[in-house]
Symmetry: C2
Subunit: 345 residues, 2 copies
Amino acid sequence: MAPIPNGRALFAAIPKGFPIPGETIVYDATETIDLENVPLNGGFLIKVLALSIDPYLRGMLRPPEVSSYIPALTVGAPIVSAGVGVVLRSDLADVVVGSYILGSFPHKEYFVAPSLGGTARIRILERDPRLPLSTYIGVAGMPGETAYMGWREFSKAKKGEVVFVTTGAGPVGSMVIQIAKQDGLKVIASAGSDEKVQFMEDIGADVAFNYKTTEVRDVLSQEGPIDIYWDNVGGDTLDAAMEHANAFARFLECGQITGYSTGVQPMKNPMLMVNKSLTFNGFMVRNLRAKHTEGFLAEVVPKLADGTYKYTEDITRGLDKVGEVLLGVLKGANTGKAVVVVADE
Amino acid sequence: MAPIPNGRALFAAIPKGFPIPGETIVYDATETIDLENVPLNGGFLIKVLALSIDPYLRGMLRPPEVSSYIPALTVGAPIVSAGVGVVLRSDLADVVVGSYILGSFPHKEYFVAPSLGGTARIRILERDPRLPLSTYIGVAGMPGETAYMGWREFSKAKKGEVVFVTTGAGPVGSMVIQIAKQDGLKVIASAGSDEKVQFMEDIGADVAFNYKTTEVRDVLSQEGPIDIYWDNVGGDTLDAAMEHANAFARFLECGQITGYSTGVQPMKNPMLMVNKSLTFNGFMVRNLRAKHTEGFLAEVVPKLADGTYKYTEDITRGLDKVGEVLLGVLKGANTGKAVVVVADE
């Protein structure tokens, strides 16, 4: 068979603020691949089916000399994010053709993985047939793990307490809402559109509001004070949460998206940490997996499969859309987990 | 016996910035007391011997409508702080004349306590004869408890780690330094005079520096990164500690004195909490006593009594000096635990 184009989404230039589709992330179709003859060198050939687009990607689009918790991507090389694919050819006995594969994928239609494991955490997916493949890079994957593992490790949630969840319609926030409701808490949740507010109400949030049209401090004055704050946004919302926190409140610092593209915002009154005996835990899911994967598989995945836990996906077709989808995620335009479908199964 | 003057240090007016001796804290000698005949009403009469002057007092000199973790003092009434005294008369069978008493004391030469316990935590002192009475409002009292209990509860210290302690010559900081050294850590410590630097070196700090003449970021660049930060100061030093923290570092938020009189300072980059998986614990010693008093009495007090743990006291005589001493504490003028001695035993 002749070589065919192997489309790629490239990190073309370092963005100053928000990424610019076509400038900082560029689709390129000039590379080709011969699927039957490309050397595997002991590895296996993956056809990429779906790629996850998450806010943290913005942090990887930076100069390599700026240190962070995630490596900088290389300018000129493909974007890398969580992906799911299927094995077309394999040199490895334990990687059978037709297996589904999860891991950190380069944004290409096809690529050869050298082995299982590694820094890309390439692994075979044991799929629940009731769950769409895309959920394994969403609520049944890293974002769902983030919600469950962060909550179990740091929330110290007690029945009857009040939690405030930001980005409550996203894959992390929506899972936090549902796990918190299951734990018997009162849930206040915010997001940036009326459609998202509706979804947060549908999944059980006691108080759901659109932060673009409702003052967060008004809501927290009326419905708080809060015992737990799930932070995905930072900035002024974090300040408001601190002002309306009870003594001994726990702050789960999962992300601070408001600062990702436009520069970090200060915390106005850190003295409230002392005054109110607050606890803050910054965390990354990768450090929680050893302890909580078993619980996630036992508690969360079955509830997703049987419909107890609900989710939404915002699916876009085509690797050429990666830049636009990431921009949308950073601006809050997506409703539900943002996924780029590269090919059908 | 005729009534005698009962001197008092009064909270006369709410300070805008630093308290002003003679204006916001005023000594008053117009009240009198008849020591033999003042009615006890079932309580006991205390002769005040020494009073503790701590930074947190500034937070009590505020309008009552401003909420905080400690009650506002009443304008026109005496200052209140930790004190030690001796019983002159008693209606209570279990409070013997001559007993030493600890608790939250009004700043008066004499006062009648209605009972043991209560919000003032009035209690009989079981004194180690090797320790001066004043240490029971210092390193053997609340500040020492704060150091030990905060450290044991939140530091998660491991041998070989690096801790940065601020106000390292004060009663809290100096105890943190010595406990951390005993736990096998490398200790970096800061204070605001060369005399204090000398004391910090004497008690075992590996690196001691004067933050007024040495850049904290230079020291942390060279001697860090740090695994634990003991915060008594907040402000730019907290920012520097975050910049030079290792992943998974613990921040013990004991106080942020830089903001007490001149207004709170923001935290510049709270996103570092996420990027570095930092933990912040704001705390107050009163919430740790139930769990850690036994350990404090077993581990710390004997080491103070036998001279293993060292301390300094900065003693001023006379209730009329309370305003000046507090101002000195807030500006870092004292070396060692600030105590006002009201009368001799």
